[in-house]
């Protein structure tokens, strides 16, 4: 009995050790053998027509040296390495980089992919394939368009962050404070591209020279039609788009005060939108209703704005601002002939029979769309002050 069991145990141990050795260490890769890529830039070499790929790689010894030397970072003071290589395609370039790094690039932690302006104009279609196909890439990687060259953006060393790519990702992630632009990742971009009618957007980054330091600045969004860059939208226009999409998280609305002597500054607290397409005898009307809540966060007049009358006027004014922003965005999109709102998809969903007849001439029909905008703007609080800080006037 005992002997039998002991054989059984030996048997089990043999089986399990076989199990372990069969799998081997095939998937193993030590961290030391990886170059952790946190950002990638794609540019075009004007002379040869090749792709110039820049990868931002983490320097691993930076922190170890830096800890003792007072946080300055070791070596040349940089904690990253921008390594670039030419290639006929992106994958080709990625593999060619190993000639310079010695280790394989590990791109699972890639935060941003920045395309140069020339590539954006040429069309992202042929360049984006690798980023969606490679198994190490994440579909949540952000897409950005550089105003000039992508490699320059990756070079700009931020003051507080260690890595430019991380800094850019952070910049874009915090877009909610102003709602002047928004985060676009690979998956969003690709799904917009595949829809056919909806134009895709991507934030545009530029470099601003401030004294002796280069700062990265997100200027607005680039509009793509069929993968090709057709134009740019400024901050207000982008917010107009976001109002319609219901993606405004926060932001600032500036309206004149009721007595026109100063300004009232409102902070957006909450915003909702509803879009209903309507088709009547071949004409398309989009009914957009927006519910917005804001708080009075600053005022530059001595007038007491915390009265029912004043608040009502402010609400009307802010509704007007929102309406204008939406119209600005809509006009821009008509100008660019790009359906940035995704109206085409909405109509497709609701009127899928009629859609077939208008699908082909959508670009022309888009120009004839009417917008009916209803804005319900509410000021729900005045923050800590009830009256402005000014000498009290006696009312008669």
């Amino acid at each position: 009995m005992i002997k039998k069991n002991s054989f059984l145990i030996i048997k089990l141990i043999i089986c399990f050790s076989m199990c372990i050795s069969l799998s081997g260490c095939s998937g193993a890769r030590e961290i030391n053998d990886l170059e952790i890529v946190i950002g990638m830039g794609v540019d075009k070499d004007k002379d040869t027509g090749d792709i110039l790929l820049t990868a931002q790689v983490v320097k691993k010894d930076a922190a170890v040296g830096g800890a003792g030397n007072g946080g300055g970072g070791g070596g040349d003071g940089k904690s990253f390495w921008n390594v670039s290589s030419n290639g006929k395609s992106i994958f080709d370039a990625v593999r060619q980089i190993t000639h310079k790094t010695g280790n394989r690039l590990f791109i699972s932690h890639n935060q941003v992919v920045i395309f140069g302006n020339d590539i954006a104009e040429e069309g992202l279609q042929e360049y984006i394939d690798f980023f969606l196909r490679a198994h190490e890439m994440r579909p949540t990687t952000m897409i950005l368009i550089a105003e000039k060259k992508a490699s320059e953006v990756l070079d700009a060393k931020p003051e507080t962050e260690k890595y430019p790519a991380m800094n850019i990702a952070k910049l874009v992630e915090t877009s909610g404070f102003t709602s002047h632009f928004f985060e676009v990742n690979m998956k969003d971009f690709a799904s917009c591209m595949m829809s056919g009618t909806t134009a895709s957007l991507a934030p545009s980054v530029s470099i601003v020279q401030e004294k002796d330091n280069k700062d990265i600045y997100v200027a607005g969004m680039v509009v793509f039609k069929n993968g090709k860059m057709v134009g740019k939208m400024n901050h207000d226009e982008v917010r107009g788009l976001l109002w319609v999409l219901g993606k405004v998280k926060s932001g600032v609305i500036i309206v004149p005060s009721p007595n026109k002597q100063g300004k009232a500054i409102l902070e957006i607290v909450k915003a909702k939108s509803k879009v209903k397409p309507e088709m009547k005898d071949g004409r398309i009307v989009m009914n957009i209703s927006i519910k917005e809540e804001s708080s009075l966060s600053e005022q530059t007049t001595t007038e007491n704005l915390a009265t029912d009358k004043a608040l009502e006027k402010l609400q009307e004014a802010s509704a007007e601002v929102i309406r204008q922003e939406i119209m600005a965005a809509f006009n821009k999109s008509r100008e660019l002939k790009a359906d940035i709102f995704g109206f085409g998809e909405m109509i497709h969903k609701k009127y899928h029979k009629e859609w077939k007849t208008i699908e082909d001439k959508w670009d022309e029909i888009y120009q004839t769309i009417e917008l009916k905008i209803e804005v319900d703007s509410k000021i729900i609080k005045t923050d800590l002050l009830k009256k402005p800080v000014s000498p009290i006037k006696k009312e008669k």
Binding site: K3, N5, L8, S21, A28, I31, V58, A63, V64
Partner: protein
């Protein structure tokens, strides 16, 4: 190309074989703990034969080994038969026989004397030096016999041993022995044997005290709140400690003697009206089956009676604390006391018990619940910590948050070893330090700890041999492993297994290991109680005391899986929730009385 094809064929073949083997193994796993025994044996045997086709050779070896065993046992039986003869009435002959048995051992004291009226009777007192209290013997046996009996009338017949017992000896623990073997047992257990010439009976008089440690706080189970007393090496004191906690006539203490040479007293203690009679019967049979030379510690008993000797998980719990053991006895469990050790065994044991501490019940339920959750967490950390670290850093770097990955990479930059080796080295060093610290005398042990901490924690990191995060992981593991004392052994084994699996197959390996562990745990039984009760099989009333500790007044049922027979019994009234104003008759009466006073 051809080579590749061949390799593929080989690979497929391997996989197929492996599949077959695996399915066999799992079938064995499944049936391993099923009753009845015969079927289990058959299953294993057939699987074994099919697996390696060495059935014939295997049977042959087994036959030979059994034959040898049988012969051995027969020899032993003959040895035992020697002393089972009655005592003769001739004192001189008896003394010679006993002296012969002891081979003139120097600590055997034989005191011959004459007593009675005109010193007509011959007697002898035999005892083993140092096992008896000589003063008591002098005062209570020899003095009355040799001096007081002179004054008695001459018609008293002292060849009748009962007369002596009743009229002369003023001690309580006396038994009559008529067989030589019984006499020898008593003699070795510390009794003085009184023999009288002409009598076939002898008296075994237990005298005096045993040298034993005083009752102290046990080192293994220190509590902040709760009784500080702990069991000691003297089993009689230990049982008295339990008697003091459970003052009930239903508390049964059964005695067994185990060990051919050590003749260790083993007591089974339980509450008759609560404990499952089948459980007690099972324990009795398992204890009686132990045929060994010596039982030196309760660990011996544990290893001879446990359900699954090849499991890394203990199925018999032990404790040094009377309050803990008493609580378990009250729940319907059975305690096994072994003479000579402060560790008392309690069966059946369930896995959850390892995470419960006596203090959980003395503290209020909220804090106790948090602490218990922390214990669960710490068990997970202590077994899986290094494995998950290795799996993540070697196989699944994409699962680590970017910033964390960068700091790990920065820390590992100068480390020359692969992560798995690094982890093994650190764990080995930790276990080494722990072992060295425990075995060495206290002052030296502390030095070892300090040296270890500096060498491992600091110097090795500064030298770039070990990454700082590895030190954090291993030290967290080390600390966590002490939070669940009952599972420290199994946790250590599991830690190495999981680490090996993680190094070989990453997260997949860890998952396979976890799955195998879970299957094994679910198959375990401890004296008929499922090891994972009350989680699997699910018992909602039992869950009150698993992940969180519900208030005491809600736990009015005894654990069902342990007491089977009277499973609906309550250990307390069901309506005990305290509240200041209650419309209870008794309460209001008392209150009024108080007011009147």
């Amino acid at each position: 190309m051809e080579a590749k094809g061949r390799f593929l064929c080989f690979h497929i073949l391997c996989c197929h074989c492996f599949d077959v083997v695996l399915s066999r193994v799992f079938s064995i796993f499944r049936d391993m703990n099923n009753f009845p025994m015969d079927e289990k044996n058959k299953q294993i045997k057939t699987a074994w034969e099919e697996l390696f086709m060495f059935g014939y050779i295997y049977r042959k070896i087994r036959y030979l080994s059994l034959k040898k065993k049988n012969e051995h046992m027969l020899e032993n039986d003959q040895q035992d038969r020697e002393y089972s003869e009655p005592i003769s009435s001739d004192l001189g002959k008896n003394l010679e026989v006993i002296k012969g048995i002891f081979r003139e051992s120097s600590d055997l004291a034989v005191h011959e004397f004459n007593f009675g009226h005109e010193r007509r009777f011959k007697g002898a007192l035999i005892f083993i030096d140092n096992l008896v209290n000589k003063e008591e013997i002098h005062k209570n046996i020899l003095q009355p016999l040799m001096y007081d009996s002179l004054l008695l009338k001459n018609d008293m017949d002292f060849t009748k041993i009962d007369t002596i017992r009743k009229s002369l000896i003023s001690m309580t623990d006396i038994s009559k022995e008529t067989l030589l073997s019984g006499l020898l047992d008593k003699l070795l257990a510390g009794a003085a044997i009184l023999m009288v010439d002409g009598s076939k009976e002898t008296l075994a008089i237990k005298s005096g005290k045993r040298d034993s440690r005083s009752i102290e706080e046990p080192g293994t189970e220190v509590v902040v709140r709760g009784p500080r007393e702990g069991f000691i090496e003297n089993v009689n004191v230990n049982i008295a400690l339990i008697r003091r906690k459970i003052k009930d006539t239903e508390l049964c203490v059964e005695k067994l003697v185990i060990g051919d040479k050590s003749k260790t007293d083993v007591y089974i203690v339980y509450i008759k009206s609560v404990a499952n009679p089948k459980l007690i019967e099972e324990i009795r049979t398992r204890l009686k089956r132990i045929k060994v030379e010596a039982i030196l510690e309760s660990g011996f008993i544990e290893q001879y009676i446990e359900d699954n000797p090849y499991s890394i998980f203990p199925t018999v719990s032990n404790s040094e604390k009377p309050d803990k053991v008493a609580a378990k006895i009250l729940e319907g469990r059975v305690a096994i006391f072994v003479d000579g050790t402060p560790f008392v065994l309690v069966v059946p044991m369930v896995f959850i018990e390892s995470f419960q501490s006596v203090e959980d019940y003395y503290a209020r339920p909220f804090f106790a619940s948090i602490i218990r959750l922390i214990r669960f967490l710490s068990f997970i950390i202590s077994t899986l910590g290094p494995a998950i670290y290795v799996a993540l850093t070697v196989f699944h770097q994409e699962l680590i948050p970017t910033q964390l990955l960068i700091s790990i990479a920065e820390g590992r930059d100068r480390v020359p070893f692969p992560a798995i080796l690094e982890a093994f080295l650190m764990l080995f060093a930790f276990d080494l330090l722990r072992e060295a610290g425990v075995r060495l005398p206290k002052p030296v042990g502390q030095t070892v700890g300090i040296v270890g901490a500096i060498v491992l924690g600091q110097a090795s990191v500064e030298a770039g041999l070990i990454s700082p995060i590895m030190v954090i992981v291993v030290s967290a593991t080390a600390i966590a492993s002490f939070a669940v004392p009952a599972q420290t052994d199994s946790g250590t084994v599991l830690r190495y297994i999981y680490l090996a699996l993680a190094g070989a197959a990453g997260g997949f390996g860890v998952m396979m290991g976890l799955l195998a562990t879970l299957m094994h745990l679910a198959s375990l039984r401890s004296f008929g109680t499922p090891y994972l009760w009350p989680v699997a099989p699910l018992d909602l009333s039992g869950l009150k005391d698993v992940f969180i500790r519900m208030p005491l007044w809600t736990m009015s049922e005894r654990p069902k899986a342990i007491i089977w027979s009277n499973r609906d019994s309550y250990n307390q009234s069901q309506d005990l929730m305290p509240s200041p104003y209650r419309n209870d008759n008794n309460d209001s009466n008392q209150r009024e009385q108080g007011r009147n006073d």
